[in-house]
Symmetry: D2
Subunit: 127 residues, 4 copies
């Protein structure tokens, strides 16, 4: 009987290297679309970053995830309506996906030249 990982692999019509790229993309979409909108203030931002990292690391084939949320969004004022609802522009993420001997590094961060929170592949390496 095949294990779940072998079964999953059998569904893919591409190379392991290509699949690692696909898996990296899934993680990027997850970071953005699961967490954008989350209420966050200065008091909770570090815990949210950690929870996002651990959440992404629960997904298959992830090697590491590092998430940083821009603290500049939290104004100086401290009234009731001064918290922030997380946007993609304020997320800085670096993740590594590992499948067999392939490691894909993907990043998401606001790109001021493009004016867009770009998700991109910054490295593909073979061990």
């Amino acid at each position: 009987m095949m294990d779940k990982e072998s079964l999953a692999a059998s569904r893919f019509k591409c190379s392991v290297r290509e699949r690692a790229l696909f898996e990296a993309g899934i993680k990027m979409g997850t970071i953005y679309h699961q967490f954008v909108g989350t209420p966050v203030n200065l008091e909770g931002v570090e815990t949210l970053e950690l929870a996002m990292e651990k959440s992404i690391c629960a997904q298959p084939y992830i090697e590491s995830a590092s998430i940083h949320i821009d603290r500049n969004v939290f104004g100086k004022s401290s009234d009731t309506y001064s918290y922030f609802s997380l946007t993609g522009e304020k997320i800085d993420a670096i993740i590594k996906v590992k499948m067999d001997n392939i490691i894909v590094t993907a990043e998401m961060r606001y790109d001021p030249e493009i004016g867009y929170p770009l998700m991109f592949v910054s490295e593909v390496s073979e061990l």
Copy 2:
């Protein structure tokens, strides 16, 4: 010049007590619809609970939030595909909203008789 809280209050056509109920409902909708779908495993569940509590506590007029995610969803097996995607059924939440001298306690939890993760008001008290 009015502060933000007074401005916000001026938009409401109901009593403070009624508004506290409305605010409690918002928090319940937030817990469910922001976080359902989040990947989580045994390693990350405590941090996710804490991040959810802090997130809800960033919203206006919240006094406290306590979130518990059912650990039974994490199977014994530890393969790549054995993490869990958070569902409303597995969330147990108690929050308190305070406006002036009114405290509303609202809860969310799977109700086995109804077969539904019910959000309900368990207490309204005046200080």
Copy 3:
């Protein structure tokens, strides 16, 4: 045997009027936290508004929901990176919740004076 609605009602420690306020708050939290982050362009905005309305109308005790997304977010340029990721500031929503003879009208819209997408109760009426 009690039906689900009676069972649910038995969990509430508040009046029907107060519960209607709470239910209206849940719907507001749902609109915001389920849909903020959704990719949308001019081609899809009307369908997204309709889908959001129908989604909210699937929830208990809703009488009507009207959602409008600000078209000004769609720039004139039509390149690949010119779509929009839905934010709370661009949503204008009016919903009505009905429980017994109580109708609660709640609204969400960016309030320029407060600088915040405010959710508020604009009317509570008894039939």
Copy 4:
């Protein structure tokens, strides 16, 4: 001056073919994590499918998206608590990403052998 698409391309350290795989993964993560949790009933399911398709088609480099939600989740009973909150298991999606002459077809669907809503690459072709 470079246009946004050329700027974005310059950030990638992989081939166009590999990038197309990455972009397909992003779309899969978006479908799942943006829409899981959405309240839906039989009345609204077709509009939700269409809104999801149009939303994914607003993202860069998408050629087509086809989304189907399993109608079996809607029970025969029609009481207030019988709507459904969308889960990944009930989504069936096929998308095509096109970059230059590369077309990647990716699919998501519950895989009964794996017991998991698997996202996979079903074809990579060159025009």
